[in-house]
């Protein structure tokens, strides 16, 4: 507990420092890519619990992200929408603003700076609420998913993501198909790094526990796991809830990084992207998920420069696809397979290193 606590505290302090350092010395574009990497890491590491450890092939991550993103935005952002009944634009203050009002703040008189800080106070509760609502969705998806396997599960979870999208599209109060513009830019490197640390620490702790072993047992041989007394249904649903929680939080982060969200932000390609990160890194490997997330976030950006250089617009996606195809041919188990990147492994790989 001490070690976990120490790592968490150190991580969060590090997050604050990191943000200050990055903002000071590093170009905004690079900071943005780093932030996107952080969100991708949370997504990949959380999906790894469902797909990698438990072996339940889920394509529902975009749906969980969308739920987290929209719930979080309710806390931080004034929602403006066209009300067909009264034929005029209506403006709903954010939950944070309403809370502030309850505590006696006068919003009408507040300056924009004050409004911003009120929105900022709504961010953490928003992220948590987004995670919790998404986790509930994970429970709802996890239970029917118990009856499905392999391709069928993949299709069902894909369907879930699409349902979430369609539902959001049809709620004008949260922007409908056009989406929500004007989210405050709250997701800085501090927040993202802190969530990353929490997600990674918890996921490592999960993986190295009786629950992690039970999940892997289910993946390796479900019947044997069940005969050993592993409660399959409970463990699978737990994996979905856990994965969905962090996907929801990541959705909240992404929303406040992009500052504009719409249902299209969370289409099924987003889910596929996260799955590709996992497969690239090695399904079931947490360090693989981290590396996969970073590579697949940085690669398209790096290729953007290449594209400009050779003056062949579009070549970026071709190279990107080629890299993936080559990887699948020469290393179908992913960069790390199911192993973890550790000092021991490094020593073995680096020539001249101790064995």
């Amino acid at each position: 507990m001490l070690r976990t606590g120490a790592v968490l505290v150190a991580g969060i302090i590090g997050a604050v420092v990191l943000n200050a350092v990055l903002a000071e010395f590093i170009d905004d574009y690079v900071v943005r890519v780093i932030n996107l990497c952080g969100v991708a890491i949370v997504l990949a590491v959380s999906l790894n619990v469902i797909n990698g450890l438990c072996g339940q092939f889920s394509l529902g991550h975009a749906g969980f992200m969308a739920i987290g993103a929209y719930v979080c935005s309710l806390f931080t952002t004034t929602q403006r929408y066209y009300d067909a009944a009264s034929a005029q634009y209506v403006s709903e203050p954010s939950l944070a603003a309403r809370m502030a009002e309850m505590f006696g703040a006068d919003l009408a008189a507040a300056g924009s700076e004050q409004l911003q800080s009120i929105a900022a106070w709504g961010f953490l509760p928003g992220l948590i609420a987004g995670g919790v609502v998404s986790a509930l969705a994970g429970l709802v998806v996890g239970i029917p998913a118990l009856r499905l396997r392999g391709d069928y599960l993949a299709i069902a979870t894909l369907g879930f993501g699409e349902i979430v999208r369609v539902v959001i599209t049809n709620i004008p109060q949260i922007g409908g198909a056009t989406g929500l513009p004007g989210l405050p830019p709250l997701a800085n490197t501090s927040w993202i790094f802190a969530v990353c640390v929490v997600c990674i620490v918890f996921s490592v702790n999960l993986q190295r526990s009786t629950f992690g072993r039970a999940l892997i047992a289910i993946r390796e041989n479900e019947l044997a796991a069940e005969i050993m007394g592993v409660r399959i249904a409970r463990m699978k649903v737990m994996a979905f809830i856990y994965g969905a929680f962090f996907a929801g939080v990541a959705g909240g982060l992404l929303a406040h990084l992009l500052q504009t969200i719409s249902p299209a932000t969370f289409n099924f390609m987003k889910s596929i992207e996260v799955v590709v990160m996992l497969v690239l890194g090695g399904l079931g490997s947490l360090t693989g998920a981290v590396v996969g997330a970073i590579v697949l976030t940085v690669l398209p950006e790096a290729l953007r420069d290449v594209e400009r250089e050779v003056n062949l617009p579009g070549i970026r996606m071709v190279v990107y696809a080629l890299v993936l195809i080559l990887l699948m041919i020469f290393r179908p188990q992913g960069i790390f397979g199911q192993r973890e990147l550790s000092l021991k492994l490094l020593r073995r790989v680096i020539p001249g290193g101790r064995k």
Binding site: T4, R213, A214, A217, N221, A224, M228, G229
Partner: protein, 254 residues
């Protein structure tokens, strides 16, 4: 003595095939019994019905006074029946120790947050599982291999690890499905001693499916013989060896 496990009229059909027909069997606590028969006789199918994998078409299974046919494998496991598999089913990517620890998982009394936050309860549970698993690996002679992944184990050791894992669930009854298959003579000798020790030292009742007649006849106190799903003989090893029906089933079958 009252029965630990008792089946009455246990029958299962797969389409037109009656794989097990009217199987009646009793085992009392502390016994070491054998279930034999030619390939395809229905032995594994019996195990599958005892452990909740298959739902019998007819008949009942009682274990420790409770009716268990219709219960799920995990529920049956919780009551104290464990087993190994003819086609080995280890958790290949887990280490040998972790495989055995998985058997001890079902006794864990911690929740997810204990593990996420690494509370003292989490560490105690890990220690308990590790101790339990390690003791059973020692018992099966696998302690030197504890750190290997299961897939790295040679065949004979894989079968032993399955037994260690099953024992880690702390069963009252362990069902071993051809544990000696693929072992050489030396390993078979060791295994027969181990199986007896499971009963004598750990106090676990043993039901054994095995093709190696020397092994079965050497350690079982009572044997029941299946052929085409039907019981054709039951009795002591000596009675079975001299039973003309059994001899015919084996000669005709192979």
């Amino acid at each position: 003595m009252t029965a630990l496990l008792e089946t009455k009229g246990l029958t299962i059909r797969f389409g037109g095939l009656t794989a097990v027909d009217d199987f009646n069997f009793v085992i009392t606590p502390g016994e070491l019994c054998g279930l034999i028969g030619p390939n395809g006789a229905g032995k594994t199918t019996v195990f599958n019905m005892l452990t909740g994998v298959y739902l019998p078409t007819a008949g009942t299974v009682h274990f420790d006074g409770a009716r268990i046919n219709g219960k799920s494998p995990a529920q049956v496991a919780a009551l104290g029946v464990s087993r190994t598999f003819q086609n080995i089913r280890l958790f290949d990517e887990l280490s040998v120790l972790e495989n055995a620890m998985t058997g001890a998982h079902r006794h864990a009394k911690i929740n997810l947050f204990d593990s996420l936050l690494r509370t003292p309860r989490h560490y105690r549970e890990e220690q308990r599982q590790r101790d339990k698993a390690y003791r059973l690996l020692e018992f099966m002679g696998l302690e030197d291999r504890a750190g290997l992944t299961a897939r790295q184990l040679p065949y004979g050791h894989r079968r032993k690890l399955e037994i260690a894992r099953a024992l880690a669930t702390e069963p009252k009854l362990i069902c071993l499905d051809e544990p000696a298959a693929g072992m050489n003579t030396l390993e078979k000798g060791e295994l027969s001693i181990l199986i007896r020790r499971i009963r004598d030292e750990l106090g676990v009742t043993v039901l054994l499916i095995e093709h190696d007649m020397k092994l079965v006849m050497g350690i079982c106190e009572r044997i029941q013989v299946l052929d085409y799903g039907k019981t054709i003989a039951m009795g002591t090893p000596r009675e079975i060896q001299n039973n003309p029906k059994v001899i015919e089933a084996y000669l005709g079958g192979e």
